[in-house]
C-alpha cells in the first residue's frame, strides 16, 4: 500500500478576478522510503498540492479529489482533531524561508519542545534531553546553548536545521520539503540537502522534495513529477527523466540548464512552447 495516494486533485482559489484553478487533476503517489521530487516553475502549483494535504490552504480554496489517502486513511474525512494527530506527527513539512517560519517571540528550545509535548506527551527533563538529541542530529553545534536562542539570532541555514529538527521530532513517516534550500547560500544548500537525504535514508521515511532546481532533483530524487500550470507534464524515475525526457516541457527545462548549453544562445522554455503546444 502506498504511503500517500492522491488521485485527480483539483484546487481552485476564489480570487477578485474570478476562480483560479491552481491544480487541474493531478495524481501523486509516494511509497515508504521513497524520495519523490515535484519540479516546476513558479505558478505550476507544486506547493499547492502538498499544502492541501497538510490542510494549510486558506478558506478561499476549494479542494476536490477522487482519492486523498495517507496509509489508506482518507484525509478528507478526518475530524479536525484526528487531522491534527496526523499533521506534525506522521506527516511533517518544512518551508522555504526558515527564519520567517519560526516564531520570533519564542526560543528555539520552546518551539521544538511544543511538538514533543503535543504529540509525544513528553514532560520536563525528557523534553530538554530529546531537544538536545534532535539539535545534535541535525548538526547544530553547541545544542545546549542554542536552546535559549531566538530565531533572529541564528543564520538561515541554522534555522532550517531547526525546522528539520522540528519536522523529524516525532519520527514522521513522510516529510514534505517545500523549496527548503531556495533561500539559502549555495554552500549551505548542499549541507542541508545532504542532511535531508541522510535523515531520509537513516529513518526510511518518505520524502517529497518540491523544487524548481533540476540540480536538486538530480541530487536527491528517486522519482520525479514535472508540473506546469497546474497539470502534470511527465512522471518518471530520475535516471530515465534525465536521459530520455518524453514531454517537450521536460526537454525544455533540461535544455535550459546552463550545463546543457551547446550553442551560443541558452534556449528558454518559450522556444519549446510552440512545438510542445503547452
Amino acid at each position: 500500500m502506498p504511503l500517500l495516494e492522491i488521485r485527480n486533485l483539483r484546487v481552485e482559489f476564489d480570487t477578485a478576478k474570478g476562480p483560479f484553478r491552481a491544480l487541474d487533476g493531478v495524481d501523486y503517489t509516494v511509497d515508504a522510503g521513497e524520495v519523490l521530487a515535484i519540479v516546476g516553475e513558479s505558478g505550476s502549483g507544486k506547493s499547492v498540492a502538498m499544502l492541501a494535504v497538510m490542510g494549510l490552504l486558506p478558506d478561499s480554496a476549494t479542494i476536490t479529489a477522487d482519492k486523498m489517502e495517507f496509509e489508506g486513511r482518507d484525509l478528507r474525512t478526518l475530524s479536525p482533531k484526528a487531522h491534527r494527530k496526523v499533521i506534525g506527527k506522521e506527516i511533517s513539512m518544512i518551508f522555504q524561508e526558515p527564519i520567517a517560519s519560526l516564531n520570533p517571540c519564542f526560543t528555539v528550545g520552546f518551539q521544538l519542545g511544543e511538538t514533543l509535548k503535543t504529540h509525544m506527551g513528553l514532560k520536563g527533563k525528557q523534553v530538554r534531553e530529546r531537544v538536545i538529541e534532535l539539535l545534535t542530529a541535525v548538526g547544530i553545534p553547541d545544542p545546549e546553548g542554542r536552546i535559549s536562542a531566538f530565531p533572529h539570532q541564528m543564520s538561515g541555514g541554522q534555522c532550517q536545521r531547526v525546522m528539520i529538527a522540528m519536522a523529524i521530532a516525532c519520527s514522521p513517516k513522510l516529510l514534505i520539503a517545500d523549496e527548503p534550500t531556495t533561500a539559502l547560500d549555495v554552500t549551505i544548500q548542499k549541507q542541508i540537502l545532504d542532511l535531508l537525504v541522510k535523515l531520509q535514508q537513516e529513518s526510511g521515511m518518505g520524502l517529497i522534495m518540491i523544487t524548481h532546481d533540476m540540480g536538486v532533483v538530480a541530487e536527491t530524487a528517486d522519482r520525479v513529477i514535472v508540473q506546469y500550470k497546474g497539470r502534470k507534464m511527465e512522471e518518471a524515475d530520475v535516471l530515465s527523466l534525465f536521459e530520455s525526457p518524453q514531454n517537450p516541457y521536460t526537454k525544455a527545462l533540461l535544455s535550459a540548464l546552463p550545463e546543457n548549453a551547446t550553442g551560443d544562445r541558452l534556449p528558454t522554455v518559450g522556444d519549446f512552447a510552440e512545438a510542445g503546444g503547452f
Binding site: K89, S92, S101, F150, H152
Partner: protein, 307 residues
C-alpha cells in the same frame, strides 16, 4: 533592562524641568489673577494676601521659590480652596481618578483584544464587518455625547444604575463612568488588534505552528496573539494621554470625585499652583506609562532586547 529603565528615568528629569518652567510661565501669562472675581478688598488686605503667596515678588524670583519648593516635595497651596495644599488635593482626588483610568484600560484591553481577535478570525464575514463598523462609530462618538446618553438610557429610562457620584464606593456607581470612558478605547484597541491579527495570521510562523499540528488555541492564543499584541502595547502609551483627556470630561459629567474636574476649574480660576501641580502630575504619569510600555515592549519582542 534595568540600566535602560534607569537611563530613561534620568533623561526624564530635564523634560520635567522644562514642563515645570513652561507651566509656570504659561499660567502667569494668562490675563487675570486668582483673586479677581472675589469681592473687592481693601488694598492693604489685598497686599497682605499677595505677600502671603509671594505674588508681589518679581516673576523670576517666584519661579525660583517654586522650584525650591518642588525639590522639597511641596507643590504649593491652593489659592482658591483654603486650607488645602496642592499635594493634599491631589492625594484626595487621585485614587478615584486612577481607579477610573485603570478600570477603563483593563476593560479596553480585555474586550478590545477579544473582539479584534474574533473579527480577525472571521475575516470579511458578517462578524468582522459588524465589529469593525461598531468600533468605527465608537471612535467617532465624542465622549461627552455618549456619556450623557448612556446615563440617560441606562440610568434614567431603565433605572439600572446611578448616574452620578461615588456613593460609598459601591460597584454600581463605577459602572457608567468606566464604560463611558472605556468605550472609545475598546473600539480603538479592537480595530488595532484586528488589523495586526489579520497580518500575523497570514505569516509564515503561524503556518508552521499549524503544520506542527498544534491545537487552535495554541496557534491563535499563543503564537499569533503574542506577535499581534506588539503594536497594541506600543500604542497603549499614547492612548493613556487620550484617556486622561477623556477622564476629565467623564469626571465632569458624572460628578466623579477625581482630579480632572478641579483641574479644569482651576485653569479658569487661575489657581496657579493647582494647575502647575496638575500639569506636572499628568506629565509624570504619561512619562511613567511610556517607560513601562517601552520596558514591556522589550520583554514581548525579543528582537529589541538584543540590540
Amino acid at each position: 533592562m534595568l540600566s535602560y529603565a534607569l537611563r530613561r528615568l534620568v533623561t526624564a528629569v530635564p523634560t520635567l524641568f522644562v514642563i515645570i518652567t513652561v507651566a509656570f510661565f504659561m499660567m502667569r501669562l494668562a490675563p487675570g489673577g486668582p483673586f479677581d472675581s472675589d469681592r473687592a478688598l481693601p488694598p492693604e488686605i489685598e497686599k497682605n494676601i499677595a505677600a502671603a503667596y509671594d505674588l508681589d515678588k518679581p516673576l523670576f524670583e517666584q519661579y525660583l521659590i517654586y522650584l525650591g519648593r518642588i525639590l522639597r516635595g511641596d507643590f504649593g497651596p491652593s489659592l482658591k480652596i483654603r486650607d488645602f495644599s496642592v499635594g493634599e488635593l491631589i492625594a484626595s482626588g487621585a485614587p478615584a481618578s486612577m481607579e477610573l483610568g485603570f478600570s477603563a484600560i483593563l476593560l479596553a484591553l480585555v474586550i478590545g483584544v477579544s473582539l479584534g481577535t474574533l473579527a480577525a478570525l472571521r475575516q470579511n464575514s458578517g462578524t468582522d464587518f459588524s465589529v469593525m463598523s461598531v468600533s468605527m462609530v465608537g471612535i467617532a462618538v465624542p465622549n461627552f455625547v455618549m456619556a450623557p446618553l448612556l446615563s440617560l438610557v441606562l440610568g434614567v429610562y431603565l433605572d439600572l444604575l446611578p448616574t452620578s457620584g461615588w456613593g460609598s464606593g459601591e460597584l454600581r456607581y463605577k459602572v457608567l463612568p468606566v464604560i463611558a470612558l472605556a468605550l472609545p478605547q475598546i473600539a480603538y484597541v479592537a480595530r488595532l488588534t484586528r488589523g495586526s491579527m489579520v497580518e500575523v495570521l497570514h505569516s509564515n510562523f503561524v503556518r508552521t505552528a499549524r503544520a506542527k499540528g498544534l491545537p487552535p488555541r495554541s496557534v491563535i492564543g499563543l503564537h499569533a496573539l503574542r506577535n499581534a499584541l506588539i503594536p497594541v502595547i506600543t500604542t497603549i502609551g499614547l492612548q493613556v494621554g487620550v484617556l486622561l483627556a477623556g477622564a476629565i470630561l467623564t469626571e465632569t459629567i458624572f460628578s466623579w470625585p477625581g482630579v480632572g474636574k478641579w483641574l479644569v476649574d482651576s485653569i479658569s480660576r487661575r489657581d496657579y499652583f493647582v494647575v502647575q501641580g496638575g500639569l506636572l502630575l499628568i506629565a509624570g504619569i504619561i512619562m511613567l506609562v511610556n517607560l513601562i510600555v517601552d520596558v514591556l515592549y522589550g520583554l514581548i519582542n525579543p528582537r529589541i532586547r538584543h540590540n
